[in-house]
Amino acid sequence: MNCSACERRLEQYQAGTLAEADRLETDRHLRKCAACRALLEALEAGQHQVIPFDLSEAVLSRTTGSACTRCRSLLGDFVDGFLDGIESELVLSHVGSCVSCNSLFRTMSQMAEVLPGMRELTPDSSFVADVLRSTRALRPAGPRLPRILDFFRGLAQRPRFSWEAAYLATLLVFGLFGTPFSPAHDASSRLLASLQNREGLVAQADSSIERWQQEAQTLVSASGRARQTISRMLTRSAEAADQMVGEGQELVRQSEDFLKSAGKTVQERIAAVYQQAKGAKALPKR
């Protein structure tokens, strides 16, 4: 057994949980190795050592920092019992060791009992009577349109409504048109002026329409000329195409004639050669 294997077993050796064979082997190594023996003695002495109270805080301050912020972010859910598993255990562990978080936890736990009890507070006994007195003269407000319709319906159903309406209408017409101080006393002259003004506008509109008509006619004639030009171009191109087709046909005919004459010449030449050959064959043998 080497030293590193012994070091791995030391904790179990110390606790007495090693198997018999392993224990004997470790015993043998410890008898031989002074370094491992010294380590075992140090571990045994450390069991009875008082841990400094601020050791964990000192370690945290040099590594991750305080865990209070994280704990506080979870404290609400912890108090409500919404945390599960390891998070709950971690918060509980921190709360058990941190004084300030423990105070917060205890206060929040009691708040959770007290706050719902503050849902209803009873005012003094005359409160309801005062509210009823305040609302006695009121009526609950309904939707606006039906209320307006109800108002006018009630107005129209009054007994002398027609007389009153006629009287009011007469007053209104007289007030508007009948006196020199009425806002609409010169309404007729203003109406006439506006009508005349309207005639001028109509004349302007007529002249504009005529101008637009002339421009439209100009456009129509221009488009007619363009159409003629296009048709002429089309005609010329058709004639040129016809001429090209005729020339092509003529060329084809000439080439056919040439081929025919060439064929005839070749036939005659073949016949002549054949006759010569035949005449040569008919000569008597010597």
Binding site: R72, S73, L75, G76, D77, V79, V99, S100, N102, S103, L104, F105, R106, T107, M108, Q110, M111, A112, V114, L115, P116, G117, M118, R119, E120, L121, T122, P123, D124, F127, V128, D130, V131, L132, S134, T135, R136, L138, R139, P140, A141, G142, P143
Partner: protein, 188 residues
């Protein structure tokens, strides 16, 4: 009593029905007003004003949404009141006897006083919170409204309400500890 029938009778001007409605909701309305404005006398006047507002708008509410509507009107009226006063709630003390009038489930006077002390302390601590945190404590922890309803009422995202809720409770607990001057925690 059936809430819909009560509402219908109130709309028709039945004073008995309206009285029953006031008695049914006075605790909540007064509690909201008191925790917002921080003063018992102001809260009483404000609660009256809230009921007048409720009465004027009875035709605009459905029976199913009566309680959320009451809370909404009470909250809005309290905010209006604070705006008018242009100051934060002072967080004044109220006498212990007055707090003993609160609707309490304490079985005996001794427990009632202990409970009253705690509530008084919580109320004073509420005055030390920021406006949003105080509103979240009042609406969520005291009135028991859902996160969604609070988000809708305050016009802020649901996530903000959730994250703010824990922070508000921590802030309230710290304020309580500071007021109590007890570093070892809230003494029962």
């Amino acid at each position: 009593m059936d809430c819909g029938a009560l509402l219908n009778r109130c709309r028709q001007g039945d004073e008995l029905a309206w009285e029953a409605l006031v008695r049914q909701y006075q605790g909540r309305v007064y509690s909201i007003a008191y925790h917002y404005v921080g003063d018992a006398e102001d809260a009483r006047d404000l609660a009256q004003e809230i009921f007048v507002r409720l009465y004027r708008t009875l035709n605009h509410v459905e029976a199913q949404t009566l309680l959320p509507w009451v809370v909404r009107v009470a909250r809005n009226a309290s905010i209006d009141f604070l705006r008018r006063r242009k100051a934060r709630p002072p967080g004044q003390d109220i006498v212990a006897e007055e707090m003993c009038d609160l609707t309490s489930q304490a079985p005996n006077p001794e427990e009632c006083c202990t409970e009253a002390d705690r509530r008084r302390l919580v109320h004073r601590a509420l005055g030390h919170l920021t406006n949003l945190n105080r509103e979240i404590i009042i609406l969520k922890e005291i009135q028991g409204m859902s996160v969604q309803a609070i988000a809708s009422l305050l016009g802020i995202p649901v996530g903000t309400v959730k994250s703010r809720s824990n922070r508000a409770r921590i802030e309230l607990a710290e304020a309580i500890l500071a007021l109590e001057g007890a570093p070892q925690g809230w003494q029962a």
